[in-house]
Symmetry: C2
Subunit: 701 residues, 2 copies
């Protein structure tokens, strides 16, 4: 039964891509509005394209070097010959997801602003459609890549007996995650540095020193700031979730084989993903409301889309799992449910801690009354406090999925359950990403409305969309972190299985000792636990340096371009975009290399036991740190907005100034370092899997 | 041989206490200076006494409840009857260490200021003597408690065969750590909240709002601030290190028995501690220099004391270990060396990252030029970055001590090696603590000099002492964190041994599965990894709330007491002290209960495997977070001082204001939350050991 149902995967993939194309067509049909609006949109588009072009050039060189290294290792017998190719396709499709998402986002911004001239709901529909394109492209391309490889490998290994064939297939597919992860890391780190350097730089000189409002066309960094929304929040987010999506499916497939489920066990995650596509498409139709709807109603509409998709998946996967694995494996279905539920709960609590409609952020905003120091302390402790509940949720999801899937009787079935819960959580990705990725489009639309001097009501509407986007972005971030943690756990389990496969194949004399009392595991835990901190430090410092050069440039333009402040001369936007681009390119190299070199170096010293310890340590501390940084940053942002809405003295008061400090600190927290950690923890596992054989044969301990 | 050498422990204890008494006598012989000085010192002393009295009353109630619980558990057979008593003595001696340390510190402050009227060196000698009293009392009382219990238990179990006797002795002694840990937690958390609430509150209104300098007698919170230096930095630090000291010795003793070393294995850590006392006393004689010495020379003098002690220990312990364990166990000696070396290296790198004589802090101070946001981001990333090297050092120390002690052949010997390396690191405690604890005395002396309007040269000298104290405090903090991590690891190993003893004794059907792939261990890792964050959040929020009430009170006094600002009326210092006292008492309850209840709750759900995972997770993430918080805080503090020394615009400039924000954020980081984490990770292990049997019999998983 498994084999024929597997066809759902390529079908789902094509369906997602076709529907995305249709949505893109409806977006492109809209008008970009006035000539000024089109001109600004073109400038943003141009900047984003220039950035991506340069980024892809740089990343291509990295990929070229990696392919050479992987090919050499393959010739030495440490890897199969598929790995270099799998690495390339993973990277290519991950990059393509980000590219298409950014293309549509930079085309939809002016169109959203223009639609918002009619009504709030019209604006929402354009922005949401563009977000949905992104969401569906990510899942569509993910499934496409998986399907192509699956059917190719199935043909390639056709001579092998079934059990061995499926094992070879899943082992090969597992390695292509590394390409996707590497690409995602560059996109997240580079984009994150770009966007926050532009944002912080523009704010520090424009808002604080020159006293001009946000998105003022006189600010030379304003276009770079808008470009940043696209390359960071759209392209980076897309590549990140592409990678979680693919990673959870391939690791669960590998665990299926270890659990003795064979092809049926592979069919479940692949077709669950296809069901998710269908559910997401149906969900998008529920995101609509009356023309004059209020913000609250719109939020409900967005949520309705996600909930409908979730319920559809919950219902259909019941039939799928009992049909494919048999009714006695109903526990696997409960593992799916626990993943779905955990995703929703983490999203809710992220919102609770970061939205100004709840107590924590309201209380935080009141700490601004005693100055910047107290709001910083308050935001840090809010972020730290907010890690407790997600940890308990993930812990409960792990235990539930492990034991419900039958982990007490068969350890491997339990691990499969953990993997499938990650797949369950990510199956709603199409629609979740849609409600998330529309935010930056709305943000951009607001900038365009401001810069082209549209009627203030338009800016008010785009602000409402933007603020709605902040809420869904918070939920989205929680979802991204939670799914990254579950995926990373599945990858660690897959790592162990892959090493044991090598040991068996090559008849080596090695047995895992993963006890936390094993000193190499313990030292691995320590090093892994430290890595997210190191990574966060490097990315924050990178933002600081890049922002510094923007500050210098903006100050120079204010000084040297006569008539700029009076609005008589135009700022030189392109130079700021260029500085951000160069800065991001230069600064992303060190963190990225670190993520690839450290697991290999640790492995060569501590051995595969130590690597497993490192992976567990990084996942644990990375999960906690990422939540802390995301929630501190989100809460500072919204505490500032809460004050701007007229509380604690409102805009321009001392408490507002203090809140701006909090927001500025939060920028790299929530949009650069925090999200990069998600990728770090997955990439570490991916690298460890690919280099597993090398380490197994050459380590010191 | 072991048995007779063990007599060194009580001898060393008495020696330490006698020498401490002698030093205290030399301090008390000095004059307190002018009448005004004596009056201020009396006020500080009175405030500190009032605080400690209230704290001990509160803690006594907690101890009473715990003794009842422990007695009930003992009656039910989950514990031996010694535990309630051991718990009490541990708490008593830990509290006594802090009490005596604080007594001498509050007597030495005015005397230091007065001596500083003669010369810098005279001031140093008084302050350092007072620090040495503290250091020697901590090690003296620690050894006293250990000796009394050892000899009592040795008599009590006299009927048992040797092997069984020593096992019973070490098991019983292990549990008394929990009393010391609980006391230390209250002292650290309560004292930390007190000191930072007073400091932050005094600064926010006094420095920022009213524009009066630090330590100005017109500030109503100024006495509370000085009291805080004593109850937080002295009493808290003393209780913390008392507990590491005792914890490392008892856990190593338990591991010795598991490694089959018997009484000889217990003799080594106990006598190493006695050697440390001797070495520390000798070291103190090297801390002197010419009357007119410069600051740099003084720092060298302080370091010389520590290095002489370290070298003495390195030499003597070679003879000790080869004599007691035999020359074939020379590897244990190398484990001692690796601990000693790791302690020195961590101290050095802490200084590197936080002292303004090195690049990192200098660079941090330049980020103040672009405002408070950039210095906050810079300090956070500095702290995060600074975790990498200590993690590598501890990792290397663990691997070295494990394998050098023979871990490859005998796993238990390896664990004993890790324990003994912690003992090695802590053997210099007498002198390390002396160079650390004199800092707050110098800080207080500065305050007294300011408030009693002494010649500015005196304040300049006490400032030099204070700044020297900041450097040694940074080293001391690194040392405290490093030793806490190693001690915690030894405690986790001891935990496992104790549980296995119970299993063996009661013939239970249980085998540890500590693999990181075991879901209960994994979930334990997650929960443990989150706990230090939660703990830091709670303590930071507590500081915020307590500081807030000080702000309100100081504002009230400025408003209501006529003539206060003109210096014609006196501020009501006592009320501020009282508010801090009450605040600290109230706020310390929740974090303390958390540290005790969580490991029991986790254990009852996840079982003893999950507890082990939790302990490892908490140690890893706690170590990293504690270093980050300590170093961020230290660097902000010194970046501010660097600007005050005339860089980047100097005192009063915008960059100075930005640096003050950094310093204020850093205050609870480095003096409340960061240090409390050290105790948290040890207390979690202690609680887990004491409640091990209960959990083993009653857990869900």
């Amino acid at each position: 039964m498994g084999n024929s149902l597997l066809l759902l995967a390529p079908i789902g993939s094509v369906l997602a891509l076709l529907f995305a194309a249709y949505l893109a067509y409806t977006v492109m049909k809209q008008s970009e509005g006035t000539e000024v609006m089109a001109k600004i949109a073109a400038a943003v588009r141009q900047g984003a394209n220039a950035y991506l072009k340069r980024q892809y050039t740089g990343v291509a060189m990295f990929f070229a070097v990696m392919v050479v290294i992987l090919t050499i290792l393959a010739f030495q017998g440490y890897l199969t010959m598929f790995v270099p190719f799998a690495f390339l396709t993973g990277g290519f499709f991950s990059g393509l997801s980000g590219f298409i998402g950014m293309k549509i986002a930079t085309s939809a911004n002016a169109r959203t602003a223009n639609a918002a001239r009619t009504s709030l709901n019209s604006g929402l529909r354009v922005a949401f459609s563009s977000g949905a394109v992104m969401g569906l492209v990510v899942v569509g391309l993910g499934l496409l890549d998986l399907s192509i490889w699956y059917y190719f490998l199935n043909w390639f290994f056709r001579a092998l007996p079934d059990a061995q064939k499926i094992q070879n297939i899943t082992s090969a597919m597992l390695t292509f995650g590394m390409g996707a992860s590497s690409m995602a890391l560059f996109a997240r780190v580079g984009g994150g540095i770009f966007t926050k350097a532009a944002d912080v730089g523009a704010d520090l000189v424009g808002k604080v020193e020159a006293g001009i409002p946000e998105d003022d066309p006189r600010n030379p960094a304003v276009i770079a700031d808008n470009v940043g929304d696209n390359v960071g929040d759209v392209a980076g987010m897309g590549a990140d979730l592409y990678e979680s999506y693919v990673g959870s499916i391939v690791s669960t497939s590998a665990l299926a084989v270890a659990a003795g489920l064979g092809i049926d066990g592979v069919t479940v995650p692949m077709t669950m993903a296809a069901i998710g596509v269908l559910a997401s498409i149906i969900g998008t139709f529920f995101v609509r409301s009356g023309e004059q709807a209020e913000q609250k109603v719109l939020l409900k509409a967005l949520r309705r889309g996600t909930y409908v998709s979730g319920i559809l998946i919950a219902v259909i996967s019941y039939f799928l799992i009992t049909a494919v694995l048999g009714p006695e494996k109903i526990g696997v279905y409960f593992a799916v449910l626990s993943g779905l539920l955990a995703g929703i709960l983490i999203g809710f609590f992220t919102e609770y801690y970061t939205s100004d409609t709840y107590k924590p952020t309201q209380r935080l905003s009141s700490t601004s009354l005693t100055g910047p120091a107290t709001i910083i302390i308050g935001g840090m402790s809010l972020g730290m406090l907010s890690t407790a509940i997600p940890v308990v949720i993930v812990g409960a999801a792990v235990l539930a999925s492990f034991y419900l899937a039958g982990g007490a009787a068969s350890f491997q079935m339990g691990l499969y359950g953990v993997g499938i819960s990650a797949v369950g959580m990510l199956s709603t990705l199409g629609i979740t990403l849609a409600t998330d990725a529309y935010g930056p489009v709305a943000d951009n639309a607001g900038g365009i409305a401001e810069m082209s001097h549209l009627d203030p009501i338009v800016r008010k509407r785009t602000d409402a969309l933007d603020s709605l986007g902040n809420t869904t972005a918070a939920t989205g971030k929680g979802f991204a972190i939670g799914s990254a943690a579950l995926t990373a756990l599945a990858l660690i389990a897959a790592y162990k299985e892959e090493i044991e496969l090598i040991v068996k194949k090559e008849n080596l004399n090695f047995v895992f000792d993963l006890s936390i009392m094993n000193p190499t595991v313990l030292v691995g835990l320590f090093i892994g636990g430290m890595l997210p901190f190191l990574f966060a430090a490097l990315t924050m410092e990178a933002v600081g340096r890049a922002a510094q050069s923007i500050v210098v440039e903006v100050r120079r333009q204010f000084r040297e371009i006569k008539g700029l402040m009076e609005g008589k001369a135009q700022a030189d936007y392109a130079t700021c975009v260029d500085i951000c681009t160069k800065g991001a390119q230069k600064e992303m190299i060190l963190p990225a290399l670190l993520a690839i070199i450290v697991p290999i170096a640790v492995g060569l010293v501590l051995g595969v036991n130590g690597v497993a310890g490192m992976l567990a340590g990084a996942t644990v501390s990375g999960f906690v740190l990422a939540i802390m940084m995301a929630n501190s940053g989100g809460a500072w942002d919204n505490a500032k907005k809460y004050i701007e809405a007229g509380n604690h003295g409102g805009k321009g008061s001392d408490s507002h100034k203090a809140a701006v400090v909090g927001d500025t600190v939060g920028d790299p927290f929530k949009d650069t370092s925090g999200p990069s950690i998600n990728i770090l923890i997955k990439l570490l596992s991916m690298v460890s899997i690919v280099f597993g054989s090398l380490i197994l044969h050459n380590s010191l301990f």
